[in-house]
Every structure is written in structure tokens, then in C-alpha cells.
Symmetry: C2
């Protein structure tokens, strides 16, 4: 395994800046400084309306008069080849900036190394432009912000934590709910009803909290999952299940 | 379930400030601001030498001439009753400060809601001083910083992540390594040799990285677990195991 170049801290480079879950004050001092220093700042935009979030978070930290602020669209659903081409083009553009002596900051919600758009672009950067230096500035994950809002510690002492993405096969989900003290179900909106019924069956509803758009002005926290309405379902949603001991 | 008071953002209160993995620049803007504004700042000290870490991180953010900076010892090993008394005393002290109109910032490495000393004190705060307002300021977890340093994404797309603490029963560890794409083994120093043999048996060594004291000046990253020496084992250590797909 080749170790990364993501300790690079000087010279033209790509910097993946984790800006946290939504509150502009949850950006790190380092992230704020590097966003202000970069020549080019890229804010990825999905087509689910979460793109303006990144731009809103960094608005007070960048200066359009001095820096190039680029909004880049990464659609959520698209054919695989089309998605690959968009990600490859993003990598190519960033590598070209760096080759021309410019430092590029790529804004990522939460942390760059956890379920981020950056990871896809990073793949192509490493594959096609391995000489382009990359620095990663870790950020506060929305999972941590969600735990604080739900008042459910992710892990205490020797507790075991599982983080599962949107699609759940029933058997493996059951096993995770049996084996782990805390289970975080990401992007749960598509399968919410069936997950709720499984939690009811396993008698785990009492320690389950649904959170939507954590850290954003319209965040919602629902401690009784039976009170979650269809309107509450959102792409940026998760459930934290904690076994009450 | 009663929802928390941790949205409190004005008035005398206890603020748990996650200051990140070690680099003082990985403190959030909010954490830095609130540490500077607090009347009392508590830095917990273990008896494993990691205590001065918290103090070093906040050194540039607090002002001993204006604020009361308190170092509080939380021993790692002690009888249960003794530990409970220390944590209860910490909660009592914080509640007394708040009752007297002072805001107390409790510094926690990483994030306050993930394996932190704060969670123990919080338990007593909630139990014995439920009227004391508590705010939680999420921080960057060392797990995220470790993933960036190891160049191993924690999760991409629909990948599943397990975070397991120090003690591993062989069967459940095997099951986690089978079921999950990424497994983070926390505080692995006591059982390092047996974990390494298990990873060898399961042919998972190629995607395993050992990290010690991530974010601190003496951090160590070892990508070949057979190169880890006894000297490298440390309380603040973890292994990230990533299945190479």
C-alpha cells in the first residue's frame, strides 16, 4: 500500500476541506484558514438541493473578489458512465489548476473521508493525476452533531458502533442491531417505514431517534418514530438506535 | 425519552467542547470562541500522560489572567466506586459554578459524544443536577483524522462501518470483519498481537493500517502491521481495516 500525500501542507495542491454538518461555526480553524487562502474554491452541488449548503457555510470565509469560487454540479442519480465522466472532469480541472500553480480547496460537508462526494473525485485524482498533491482537512461529521442533538452518546466505554448506509438487507441489519450497542442508519428516507417496523419488532423504538438536516436551520429531531410524517423524510436524514441498558 | 438541553446557547452553562484529535487548528470556530468566552475551563487529565494534550490544544485559546483554568485528574484504572466519586465530584463542581452564574467549558479530545471522559461526568450532571444547562459542541473525531492519515476512506457509497473498542471477543470480531467494509479497532494496544494474527488468518492485513497518537507531534502511521514494535503500542492507538475491493 502506498501512503498518501495528504500531509502536504505547502505549495499548490488540492485541499479537501471538511466543513462540518452545516453550522458555519463548526468549520475548523484550519479549514477556515485554508478556504481563505485558496486560489480556487469548489463547492459541490447535488441536484437534491443540498448544494447551496456548502456555499452557505463557506460564504463568510471566502472572498469572490480575490478568489475563484466555482460551483460544480454532481448529480445524485445518473448513468454510471455519466457520473464517472463528471467526477473525472472535476479531477482533471483541479489537477490543471494545481499544475498552473494554483491551490484548490474542495468543500465537503461533514468529513471528506466519510461518505463524501470528494472521495469519488479523489479516486480519479489518484488514478490519473498521481503527481497532484492532495491534503485532507478532517471535519466534524454530521453523525457526531446528530448524536449531540439526539442526546444519544455514540459510544461509551466498551460500546460497539455500527454505521450503515441507505440500503439495508434485513438479515444483516438484524445482526447489526443484535451485535452493536449503537447503530446509525444513514440516508434512511427511502426505507424509513420498513426500518421503523423492524425496530418495533425488536423492541428498539424507545432508544431510536430520527434526525433530518442536522446542523441546518431547518433541522428536525423526532424522538418518537411514530410521529415521523412523510413530509419529514429527507435525503439528509438518519436514525440513531441506542440500546438502553 | 426526554430530549436534551444541549441546544442551550446563552447564559451560565456547562459546555462540552470537542477540540479534535490533537492539532490545535482542528478546533472548530465555535469551540475556539466558547473556550475564549468561558469563565472556567476544565482540562481533564488521565494518568496515562494524555492529559497535557488537552491543555496544549487549548493553550492558545484561553487566557489564565482572565479565566480560571482547572486541570482535573480522571485516573484510567481505579476501583469503580472511586471512579464514580471522581466523576460525581466533577459534575458537582461544574453545577456549583453554573449556579453561581459562571459558564464552564469542559475540554474533550475528539468529540464529546464518542468515547469521551465527558460522557461519564455528563451522566452525573443529568442525574444529580438536571437543572444545569448543558451545551455540546461537536468536534473532529480522531477516527476521521486517522482515516485521512492512513489514506483509507471510512466509507464510500453504501459501505458499512464498524467501530469496536479495546476488548474483542474473537467471534464477534470475526463476524464484524466479515460483515463490514471498514472496521475501526480502538485502543488496540493491549491485544495488538492477537488482532494481527486474526487479520493475517482472514487475509485482511493488506488493507490494515496501525496508527498511534494521531494528530499529535509524535504520531506514527504503520502500513505493514508486521513492522509494529512493542515500543509503538500506545493507549491512543487504533487499527483501521479496510477490505480492498
Amino acid at each position: 500500500m502506498s501512503l498518501n500525500s495528504n500531509r502536504t501542507t505547502t505549495g499548490p495542491r488540492v485541499i479537501a476541506v471538511g466543513v462540518g454538518p452545516g453550522d458555519p461555526e463548526l468549520v475548523t480553524l484550519k479549514g477556515a484558514r485554508l478556504l481563505g487562502e485558496a486560489d480556487v474554491v469548489i463547492t459541490p452541488v447535488g441536484d437534491k438541493g443540498d448544494g447551496s449548503i456548502a456555499r452557505a457555510i463557506v460564504a463568510g470565509l471566502v472572498d469572490p473578489a480575490r478568489q475563484e469560487i466555482v460551483e460544480q454540479v454532481f448529480p445524485m442519480r445518473r448513468d454510471r458512465a455519466g457520473l464517472a465522466e463528471i467526477r473525472r472532469a472535476s479531477a482533471r480541472m483541479m489537477a490543471a489548476h494545481v499544475a498552473a500553480g494554483r491551490t484548490v480547496a474542495f468543500v465537503t460537508l461533514g468529513d471528506p473521508f466519510l461518505y463524501s462526494t470528494f472521495l469519488y473525485v479523489y479516486h480519479y485524482l489518484r488514478e490519473e493525476f498521481p503527481a497532484t498533491p492532495v491534503e485532507v482537512v478532517s471535519g466534524v461529521s454530521s453523525i457526531h452533531a446528530a448524536a449531540a442533538r439526539a442526546d444519544l452518546p455514540l459510544g461509551l466505554a466498551d460500546e460497539r458502533i455500527a454505521i450503515l448506509p441507505a440500503t439495508f438487507e434485513d438479515e444483516r441489519l438484524r445482526r447489526a442491531l443484535a451485535d452493536f450497542d449503537t447503530v446509525v442508519l444513514m440516508k434512511v428516507f427511502r426505507v424509513f417505514a420498513q426500518v421503523r417496523e423492524l425496530l418495533r419488532e425488536l423492541d428498539l423504538l424507545a432508544g431510536a431517534v430520527y434526525l433530518k438536516r442536522v446542523g441546518l436551520p431547518d433541522e428536525t429531531v423526532v424522538t418518537d418514530l411514530d410521529q415521523v410524517r412523510d413530509d419529514d423524510l429527507d435525503y439528509l436524514s438518519l436514525i440513531i438506535v441506542k440500546k438502553i441498558r
